[in-house]
């Protein structure tokens, strides 16, 4: 192992530690900002180390640098600009959009590795490739729909249509079959393309039947999915920092999804099953409020810290199921001080 290689691996290790510590610091409001900075520093270190690695190997051609630079530059600029200018109330859909492109990037990485390898792709690469494409593409399409729902580009109520469940089941079968064929290393690009399209369609029909009020939890779940897809990309590329960061996000995102669902007094199963999979009929159709299952469990209490800024914690909200406005008040609004802000 050359010196550069060792240095890069050590940097990856440090970056992984930064991610874990950064996420841990985010548990308390006081230390959260330092956590974010630590995590960003780890990210910068990981990217710089990778650049050093490929420069040292002399692997990237001039054309490669042009494409890489153009892509990364445009993406970074777009991300920076939208993140700076977005209104505070529109942040959830922006996070969902960033989550979508992350999932898309993970899927593209796997597709590229698959096209590069010769016909009998070894199972060590083929299996994570299939999982990466499946999860990444599903997350890409699903997150875009979720973002569109919150932005109002897609009807925010549950969109339920006849044959929706049959379509979902059919797409799942197609995806599993195409995935199985690809995972054995046969089928070539055709099988992978079928898998990709089926996964994209699954993402759309999976999120459409879920009401806008549940979107925060859905976005968190898709966030965990993207983490898993990135970990799979790490297996495909044999890169440890991708595996660690991806698995970290996958696991902590799952826990966070559970916490968010609990804070909204909803069960994850009933959210994801929103329009399919459960026995209850989606007959009501119009708007999310009508067809929610009755709330179970202890009475809903306002979350401490939101009360001052949440006009929706009125009496009636303790009886009616959570609508979008009440969900926003309990899950999306960081604590606001009563002092006026000038931002």
């Amino acid at each position: 192992m050359s010196t550069v290689d060792t240095a890069v691996r050590l940097t990856y290790l440090a970056a992984a530690a930064c991610f874990v510590l950064g996420l841990h610091l985010m548990n308390s409001p006081v230390r959260a900002r330092r956590g974010n900075q630590l995590s960003a520093a780890g990210m910068a270190a990981a990217v710089v180390a990778t650049l050093v690695l490929v420069i040292d190997a002399g692997a990237i051609t001039a054309t490669g640098w042009t494409f890489l630079g153009a892509g990364a530059g445009a993406g970074a600029l777009a991300g920076w600009y939208t993140a700076r200018t977005v209104r505070m109330t529109a942040m959830p859909q922006l996070v969902s959009l960033f989550n979508a492109v992350g999932g898309g990037a993970a899927a593209i990485v796997a597709v590229h590795e698959f096209t590069r390898l010769a016909a009998p792709v070894p199972a060590r690469v083929a299996v994570p490739t299939v999982l990466d494409v499946l999860i990444g593409a599903l997350t890409f399409a699903g997150s875009l729909v979720a973002s569109g729902k919150l932005q109002g580009l897609v009807p925010s109520g549950p969109v339920v249509f006849t044959g929706g469940r049959v379509l979902t089941a059919g797409l799942s079968i197609v995806a599993v079959c195409a995935g199985a064929v690809s995972a054995t290393g046969r089928g070539g690009m055709a099988a992978l393309a079928v898998l990709l399209l089926a996964a994209l369609a699954l993402g759309v029909v999976g999120v459409l039947p879920i009401g806008g009020a549940d979107m925060p939890v859905v976005i968190s779940l898709l966030n965990a999915f993207t983490g898993t897809a990135v970990a799979m990309a790490g297996f495909v590329l044999d890169n440890s920092v991708l595996i660690v960061a991806g698995a970290l996000v996958g696991a902590s995102g799952t826990i966070l999804t559970v916490l968010m669902a609990q804070a909204m007094n909803r069960s994850i199963v009933s959210i994801v099953a929103g329009g399919f999979g459960t026995g209850d009929s989606p007959a009501g159709g119009g708007g999310g409020r009508g067809r929610r299952p009755p709330r179970r469990g202890p009475p809903r209490r306002p979350v401490p810290g939101y009360a001052r800024s949440a006009p929706t914690t009125r009496r009636s909200s303790s009886r009616t199921p959570a609508g979008w406005s009440s969900c926003r008040a309990t899950a999306w609004r960081p604590r606001r001080r009563s002092t006026p802000s000038t931002s």
Partner: protein
């Protein structure tokens, strides 16, 4: 095999690293995790290194663009959310 061990251990760490989070921090935490999986930018750099035809370059272009948007936007948005947690005295904007 080594990769699988790393994956499993990182999963376990991920399950433990988030403890009792106040509900106010759910969204920033989700956004922070979202920024962390932008590390796929590393993957985009690596595929650019192994690309040698137009399809490969095009895939690298999109992967790099998507990943860079994820990572830069993710950290900036998280920073802006956390800005709201500052004490009123140290608020600058």
């Amino acid at each position: 095999m080594t990769n699988l061990s790393i994956f499993l251990l990182a999963l376990l760490v991920g399950f433990e690293v988030i403890g009792k989070v106040p509900a106010t921090l759910h969204t920033p935490l989700m956004s922070a995790a979202n920024a962390i999986h932008g590390v796929v930018l590393v993957g985009a750099v690596l595929i650019a290194a192994s690309a040698h035809d137009l399809v490969g370059y095009a895939l690298a272009l999109f992967a790099a663009g998507f990943a860079a948007m994820n990572v830069v936007g993710g950290y900036v948005v998280t920073g802006r959310m956390l800005q709201m947690f500052r004490k009123p005295t140290e608020r600058e904007r």
